[in-house]
């Protein structure tokens, strides 16, 4: 293999890791600020201007805290679980085009680590492996709340994989490719070509499933503070808990990218304006994660399962069938 290719890929991986680790930290800052403003509070104000350095303070705190391994936990699994969450979150980023290709000093850069032709399948598959973080962490913790959380996370993630997969099937039938770049180029003609117009139902379903798979608030029952403490994170401390956190926030960013690329036209024709539009769309979806957290209550686990299997899955199947019929005739 070409040495330049290997070096370029490693540089891309490092950049993505650094940028999204930092964004995960900033994401907590934005979440606290947005939630505070929506609840007529001020949020973090004292560390740095407008509390901006709160992120750094929290990072230093997490890094320097004692790494407690409780007595009765299954130690190797307990230790590896947060790494699985963070690692799978970042691995999913490998097939996501964050930016249209651009040329620097005559060298064309593709801002995607691996342009595989099964991109979205890879992204969904790796995000599905992310289930093992909460599941193993919760089961290894020797804590009943963690155990409940592990059981819930297994149920929720596997159920909503069905929704996200089935809802994506219809747009993928239209595009005829699994590569996220092909999906993006399919909609390059402008706002009228966006898949959201031809597949609004799939868009809503995938959006709902995204909330379940990132474990955000209407479907936050995996780590619901008021009933199971912090769920799978109860026994974790220091940077191991921080890895769960980084994984969750990185997942939120990546799933926002995926929604924006598949349904809302991505970076369009690849111009600079299109690239910034992609960032705006991602910012909106990320903001929506925070917005719903301020506005909506959580649903019960049984309601969540009911919603998945009795409502969303039939709708997704009907959507696929109708799309197929329309394409045939």
């Amino acid at each position: 293999m070409d040495m330049a290719f290997i070096i370029e890929t490693i540089v891309k991986i490092v950049v993505i890791l650094l940028v999204f680790s930092a964004l995960a930290g900033l994401g907590t800052y934005f979440e606290r600020k947005v939630l505070a403003f929506m609840q007529r509070r001020l949020g973090p104000m004292h560390v740095g201007p407008f509390g901006l350095l709160q992120v750094a303070a929290d990072g230093i705190k997490l890094f320097t805290k004692e790494d407690i391994i409780p007595q009765n936990v299954v130690k190797p699994i307990f230790k590896i679980a947060p790494v699985i969450t963070a690692a799978t979150a970042f691995m999913a980023a490998a097939a996501i085009p964050f930016w249209p290709q651009f040329t620097v000093f005559g060298y064309t850069v593709h801002p995607i680590v691996a342009d595989v032709n099964i991109g979205i399948l890879y992204v969904l598959g790796v995000m599905a492996i992310g289930l093992y973080g909460p599941l193993l962490g919760g089961m290894a913790s020797a804590n009943k709340f963690s155990l409940i959380s592990a059981a819930r996370s297994a149920a929720v993630f596997i159920s909503y994989e069905v929704i996200s997969g089935l809802s994506l099937l219809a747009p993928l039938m239209l595009v005829g490719s699994l590569s996220l770049i092909d999906i993006n180029n399919y909609q390059a003609g402008g706002i009228g070509n966006w898949i959201v117009w031809s597949q609004p139902v799939a868009f809503i379903l995938f959006w709902i499933a995204a909330f379940a798979e990132t474990g955000r608030t209407p479907f936050h029952l995996v780590a619901n503070d008021h009933e199971i403490i912090d769920g799978f994170g109860t026994e974790y401390s220091g940077m191991r808990w921080g890895l769960f956190f980084i994984g969750e926030y990185a997942n939120m960013f990546f799933i926002s990218f995926v929604i924006a690329i598949i349904f809302l036209g991505g970076f369009g024709d690849g111009s600079i304006a299109g690239a910034f539009q992609l960032l705006l769309k991602v910012a909106f979806f990320f903001f929506f994660f925070l917005w719903t957290r301020a506005a909506w209550p959580d649903v019960r686990p049984d309601q969540l399962m009911w919603l998945c299997w009795k409502v969303l899955m039939p709708i997704a199947v009907i959507n696929v069938v109708i799309t197929g019929l329309v394409m045939m005739f």
């Binding site: 403003f37 929506m38 609840q39 007529r40 509070r41 001020l42 104000m45 917005w291 506005a295 909506w296």
Partner: protein, 204 residues
């Protein structure tokens, strides 16, 4: 307003009580389905989204940044006690009558008096045990000379809380008095500041 209709707890035309109108719970599957559809498309989730977004846009923040900003407290707030001085002479108002010591229900006021060389009663020691004081305000209420009052000082972080309530700390400093900063406790019969409260004459 007379409360007879409220005393009759039975639901009838004469009483003020009535049953809250609650819809029947759906029993058949079709009714349940209709309820779900109605609730789904009523758009209440968007009302919630709009409410929080409206508050964010209005940006009507209610946070009080406490050590930097303080809320005003009521004029008759009962915080740590103060001993006041006479406005004209600067002499202590306390005449050592001991009424506060007597009325104190948690028995936390302690005072020592003596007759000084002008054959006036002088208060040599005056202390309040803050470990026992319940801030009921009886001492300020009973004081015939408006000498002991409650102040507005509610931030009592200290190594020794006794430091707030020995006589030298409670008594208004003389420079405070001359610059007119001695606050009167606006209770019953309170004087307005700078109104003359004179030393009780010996011949009284």
């Amino acid at each position: 307003m007379h409360s007879e209709p409220l005393n009759d707890r039975n639901v009838s035309e004469h009483s003020a009580y009535y049953y809250v109108d609650i819809e029947e719970y759906p029993t058949t599957g079709w009714d349940k389905f209709k309820q779900v559809v109605k609730r789904t498309f009523r758009g209440e989730l968007f009302v919630g989204l709009w409410v929080v977004m409206r508050e964010m846009i209005k940006f009507d923040i209610h946070t009080v940044k406490y050590p930097l900003e303080k809320l005003p407290i009521g004029p008759r707030y009962r915080a740590v006690h103060k001993l006041l001085r006479l406005w004209e002479s600067g002499y202590e108002r306390c005449i050592g009558c001991g009424l506060c010591e007597k009325i104190c229900i948690s028995d936390c006021i302690r005072m020592d008096t003596k007759i000084d060389e002008n054959s006036r009663k002088e208060v040599t020691e005056y202390s309040i045990n803050l470990g026992r004081c319940i801030f009921c305000g009886y001492c300020a209420e009973v004081c015939p000379e408006l000498a002991i009052v409650h102040g507005q000082r509610y931030e009592n972080g200290s190594e020794q809380r006794a430091h707030f309530v020995i006589k030298d700390d409670m008594l208004t400093p003389l420079d405070f008095l001359t610059s007119g900063q001695q606050a009167e406790y606006p209770g019953f019969g309170a004087i307005t500041p700078n109104e003359s409260v004179t030393k009780t004459p010996l011949a009284y």
